[in-house]
């Protein structure tokens, strides 16, 4: 009996083997490429909802070019090859006009060849290590010089930090960021022995010895700070351990680049009060735009306790810029939109305007916030004016001569100012 049902079920799923139904072309399709399952689901589902919300809003405003927007959601399931496959599906089967997606660098790297081959358009909303600029990707998250460098400056100037712990999860973003910071600190005359670098695996949960090492390192009489590029999941146990070993933010402040409101909502922040984070956006910033956005979000998720965070703002900015660019270009054709994107301006949620630069990175303000006991950040410092995102770091030997410029005459993602050559393009 049951065997039969199962068999029929399988047969049924087999029957759907005919090519995927392709939608009628009277809608503009927005692809959403965020993991809904697997390890990254924790961060990425929020962004999926954000895009859906933005689409809904845009449709309320009457859509774009007189067409309604239609969101196409797929689940790459935190599986990197699957990201490439799903991108191909979105672009060739669903024929979407734009993709909002990816969180981890590896997923972006795996998507990159496909999206360049099929000349798609993607918005990448997460802070990342830089060292990349593709014709088909717009990077609305922070580059290292929009997060790490200002944070270090703050620690040095405001808190007089002299000793540095660079702690990170062992993958590309922390590695690159720490390399940049190391170079930067040494330029500022910080001695070798005053820098401690430590890498841990993903989801590292036993921080006892590392935290106690940090504690020892910090008890040398000089003011010490931890610059944390620890990735999402590992943060909770890390901060819990800090709290338990009685390391308060006055003794050794920790400035994090991957800890936002959402991560904090996952833990009890009382022992964390005073630790820092550097972002381009905090939910606590008081502006009309932000108020509106937050209320929208809470209404959309039907959950008054949902928080907003920086990647959400990045998505928000990216979406609006794309919408404007499409309006300006009068079409969703990728090349036209790509050109129209450069120079686009949209208001930040934190006040001021974000500008899309020639290198497909944004100019945004940088904020430093202190964690409060209500799981929010208190802005304690911010750059006067905006900082232009830097695709290629000046502090890495490999890339200091490289620039990205997608306007004539250069039109290249990594143009070597020395050799006047353009390399690494997939077309």
């Amino acid at each position: 009996m049951k065997i039969k049902t199962l068999a029929s079920a399988i047969a049924l799923s087999g029957a759907t083997l005919i090519a995927l139904p392709s939608m009628a072309a009277d809608t503009i399709k927005v692809g959403v490429l965020h993991s809904l399952s697997g390890t990254m689901a924790i961060s990425e589902t929020t962004l999926k909802d954000t895009v859906l919300m933005m689409v809904e809003e845009q449709n309320k405003k009457g859509g774009l070019l007189g067409k309604k927007l239609e969101a196409v959601v797929v689940d790459p399931a935190s599986n990197w090859p699957l990201f490439a496959e799903k991108t191909r599906e979105l672009l060739t089967e669903e024929e979407v006009d734009v993709i909002f997606g990816c969180w981890t660098s590896v997923s972006r790297k795996s998507v990159l060849p496909v999206i360049e081959e099929l000349n798609g358009l993607m918005f990448y909303p997460v802070q990342y290590e830089g060292e990349e600029s593709s014709k088909n990707v717009f990077y609305t998250g922070a580059a290292p010089n929009q997060q790490a460098i200002p944070a270090v400056n703050y620690l040095k100037d405001e808190l007089g930090v002299e000793r540095w712990v660079l702690a990170g999860t062992d993958y590309v973003y922390p590695r690159t960021t720490n390399k940049i910071l190391e170079a930067y600190l040494k330029d500022m005359g910080v001695a070798e022995e005053d820098i401690m670098i430590n890498y841990t695996p993903f989801g590292h949960s036993d921080w006892q010895s590392i935290v106690s090492d940090i504690n020892k390192f910090g008890s040398a009489g000089k003011k010490t700070a931890v610059v944390s590029t620890i990735n999402g999941d590992a943060n909770v146990p890390f901060y819990k351990e800090l709290g338990n070993q009685g390391i308060s933010s006055e003794d050794i402040p920790v400035v994090a680049f991957s800890v936002g409101e959402e991560e904090l909502s996952g833990l009890d922040t009382t022992p964390l009060v005073g630790h820092l984070a550097a972002w381009n956006y905090f939910q606590s910033v008081e502006t009309e735009e932000n108020e509106e956005f937050i209320t929208q979000w809470k209404a959309f998720t039907k959950n008054p306790d949902r928080v907003t965070n920086d990647p959400m703002e990045a998505t928000f900015i990216g979406f609006n810029m794309w919408a404007n660019a499409v309006k300006d270009a009068g079409t969703t054709d990728v090349d036209a939109v790509e050109q129209a994107m450069i120079g686009q301006e949209t208001p930040n949620l934190t006040g001021g305007v974000a500008v899309m630069n020639k290198n497909h990175h944004l100019s945004k303000p940088v904020l430093i916030g202190e964690i409060q006991d209500d799981g929010q950040f208190e802005t304690v410092w911010e750059t006067d004016g905006v900082v232009a995102g830097d695709a290629w770091s000046d502090f890495l030997p490999g890339s200091k001569d490289l620039i990205a410029d997608w306007t004539d005459p250069v039109k290249c993602g990594n143009y070597n100012t020395e050799t006047k050559a353009c390399s690494g393009q997939n077309y």
Partner: protein, 538 residues
Amino acid sequence: MNAILTLCLLIGALLPFSVAHAATGEATVQSGSPMLLELTKTKLSKMPAVVEKLEAEGGDAYLPLFRTWLAGNLYYVKSNRSLVEKMGSGKQVTFQAMFSGDPMPDLKKKQVKKVKVNNKLRGKLRSVIARIQLTSEDSSVREAAVRELLAKLDKNVIGILEGLHVKEQNLDVKAMIATALSLYAASDKSNSQSVRLSAIEDLSDSLENDVRNGLTKLTNDSNKAVAAAADEALVSINQRVERYALVDQLFFGLSLGSVLLLASIGLAITFGVMGVINMAHGEMIMLGAYTTYVVQLMMPNHIDYSIWVAIPAAFLVSGLMGVLIERLVICRLHGRPLETLLATFGISLILQQLVRTIFSPLNRQVSTPTWMSGSLEINPVLSLTLNRLYILAFALLVFMALVLLLKKSSLGLNVRAVSQNRNMAKAMGVKTEWVDAMTFGLGSGIAGIAGVALSQLTNVGPNLGQSYIIDSFMVVVFGGVGNLMGTLVAAFTLGIANKFLEPTTGAVLAAILVLVFIILFIQKRPKGLFPQKGRAAE
């Protein structure tokens, strides 16, 4: 400029008022003091100056103010700029007037603004409070205050300390003050060499951080003799520090071991006794953790007791789920252990997704009871974190309870009977189905309890289980299937090994080495540390 002007005006306005109330105690006076108004105006960067002025002005009368401020509970009413203290947290926030403490029930959050505080300021406030507290009644407070000051010793502080040193009754505090004095004496170049040397002599048995730093500074002192003395004092201190560091490491190892034990002991039963490869074991742990979360949701005001409710609750939830799984799936797979792996893997996928849909994929906040947070300070260089201590004890407790259960209770008897010879046991009239269900339930239930403990250390999220399942299997196999003692030994061995490797190799390599070791070990002893003997082994 005009700030100063307003200031003068205010002083003028307040003078008669303050005189009038002079008799009724200083509190009201200060509540009107112009410096306090400064608090509501000055920018963060200028604040430290204000703090110093306040200290000069009010001294210990301002202690409560500084404390509230430090805690970030200091607000002021937007309308009249009078300072208020925030009480409570989260939803039920009330305010009361600073100093007088009169409640202000009708004050809304909208109407007040926070007096900002940042790290720099906190540091400042601490040292100020420390200085004030030098004359506090509580000896421990005094000691702490002196310790606070060790880092920032200067002429006038020393002056105060010398005064106190004479008066001080409590020996610990006296010792601490003495340390401070000799530290200063040692570093003060104006002193004669003999004085400085004796001072260093006194310091050489202190483990205080700042003392070490002070001595390190002295090692390159212009005076050779002093430098040498400081150097050897430092050496003797460091030796002791090293010794304590070793103890620390051992504790880390034990604590990691206890976590492994908790995670794997449930598996030792389902896998070891029943031979079921339960891939959903991790999800049982996860369920336990989520139960803790739910319990805390239900009793937000009694977090401290929530754990005691959570433990049985988690046991029940996971246990019942275990029984359910056993009845629905596993009992149909008898004698096919490898198939159980596949089925339970499917189940684990389902459970994960279930949790994702119910609680969202985000991590859930489980707060630590106050009695579990903080650490037990044995001396300045050795302090054991409380939650780890409790979990270590808890793990051993659970283990012993389990051993007793299996040794003494009738259930235990049946379980052992079934595990050794199913058919015989059946023939003897043991209800094997029932025993299986109970065993599996027990194993899962204990996994649930492990979840409660883990919720105090790490993320409570859908992936919680996955990160422990493999380690658990390693522990059970290494210890020898079907042998609880083996599991215990294995868990602690691996934990300690890991922690002693980590400093030299780094976390990742340590993990790899341990795995490789297990693989090789199993080649040597295919049945683990404590192999099962007799027919049951076949």
